[in-house]
Subunit: 290 residues, 2 copies
């Protein structure tokens, strides 16, 4: 017999587990090396952890618990190790509670280095009515007819632990970049679920929105595309099962591109959308392929 809470069975639930601290609104957590993409902890996980912390804080004082809008500014790359999450409730209204979250890790000499700061509005997605207007999901072959990223790893990301956490199936029509034939259209479509079968919820959608390879790959631009700013809108609670995703980009200039993601659940309902501004290293003499 023990009074310890049961250990979460899901990798994801373990990764967003928070411990209270003696400072009001402050929580402690740990980033494991199981969520690395390249040399940094996946930004989607940082966003999910931040949102969980704010919802925990709001739950203590009473308020809304589902993420509705999330804007995160990424300041430095997150690393495996100790994490501190500071939360502040800015306003509690009738339908929304808005707060601020700061994610930091100890740097040299233990001095905190801020990884991400975010503004977040939480509400109640159960109150969401049937959508009046919504983007329909694009036609795609079923997951079993798509390209599994565990078989066909993106160039340069072969050893990324994040890809072992996700079951990612790329639409063959938008996966040419994985075999050296980027389309130049700037679009990647995929099915996504957690590899351990843990079902999606509103907070996990933040991870999903940032879970696909950089859309720059479909423009023939390799390498890491660090997120500077990421804003997500969660529109409904996802049904169990696969999530369907589409990421696109229309504007690339000055070493920056926008990347728009949309997520539909297994019933075809639009459940979240996002836009991020990310950095890209455009090779000299680059021209858009296709």
């Amino acid at each position: 017999m023990t009074d310890a809470p049961p250990s979460p069975r899901s990798d994801y639930d373990r990764a967003i587990t928070l411990r209270p601290t003696t400072t009001p609104g402050r929580y402690a957590a740990e980033f494991s090396d199981q969520w690395l993409i390249g040399s940094a902890v996946n930004g989607g996980l940082v966003m999910a952890l931040a949102t969980t912390a704010l919802a925990t804080r709001i739950g203590e004082v009473g308020g809304h618990l589902d993420p509705i809008a999330f804007s995160g500014y990424f300041l430095t790359a997150s690393q495996p190790g100790d994490v501190v999450v500071d939360t502040e409730v800015l306003r509690s209204g009738r339908t929304l509670t808005t707060g601020q979250v700061s994610v930091s890790q100890p740097g040299r000499g233990g001095i905190p280095v801020e990884r991400m700061r975010a503004l977040v509005s939480l509400g109640d997605l159960a109150a969401s009515a049937v959508p009046i207007r919504a983007q329909a999901p694009p036609p795609m072959p079923p997951p079993e007819d798509c390209v599994s990223s565990s078989e066909q790893r993106p160039p340069g990301l072969e050893a990324s632990a994040l890809l072992d956490r996700l079951d990612l199936r790329l639409d063959p029509a938008t996966a040419g970049w994985a075999v050296g034939r980027p389309s130049g259209r700037g679009e990647i479509r995929a099915w996504l679920r957690l590899a351990d079968g843990r079902e999606p919820d509103p907070t996990l959608l933040l991870l999903a929105l940032d879970g696909l390879p950089p859309v720059a790959f479909d423009l023939g631009i390799q390498g890491w595309a660090p997120t500077l700013e990421f804003t997500a809108h969660v529109r409904a609670r996802p049904a169990p099962g696969w999530l369907q995703l589409r990421v696109t980009s229309e504007n690339l200039s000055g070493g920056l591109m926008e990347e728009d993601a949309v997520v539909w659940d297994s019933t075809g309902r639009l459940v979240a959308q996002s836009r991020q501004l990310c950095g890209v290293r455009v090779p000299d003499g680059y021209t858009v392929p296709g």
Copy 2:
């Protein structure tokens, strides 16, 4: 003879004029009734003021001065009167400086009430190269063949002072809602400039992105559409002259809709884009027109 600085000739420059205070990073300003839309000060002006304050702060310590990414969460409606803007620099990097801004006004008993909190990254738009990919502006009749909002005021906004500050010309193809015939497509296109002829700059683009009537009007939904969250990306310095705008929406559910805006300058170059999440009051028994 006087030592007072020259009064800005432009209404807009007067509206974003800041006074230093004795508190580091804090500035004072005033909202006039000249920027009211309905019963609140226009959110675009709040964003432009916040960005100006952060750029002023960063200018004092050295850093980047052009807005690149801006995410504002609107907490309460701004009113004419005294304003306090608090700024905090979070990180100064090689290409970007990121900070936080809080805009507040004195409430009952002088207790500050926060109007908006924002995260902002600033950089140097002069470094922006020729765009590699960019959305092209839609074909539109020239401003002189469009519908002037000073002649045809949106229903319910006939007396809004903001409309006197702007020279707004609606594309007749997307202005049916102004005469009771919304298209149901969820799109409004327009030309925009300041009525006093003040030329656009990067910070003014934040005002422009929020300067059109709510796209809900084109869905036949009247009334105020309060912004909950607004994120803008500024991609280039605008050339002098008219700005061309398009706002669209694809998703409406649970009393919330996203509104995407794109701005091109007079040379047809994409200079900024934004997405906001706003509240809409959908009438009982509503169906999308058209």
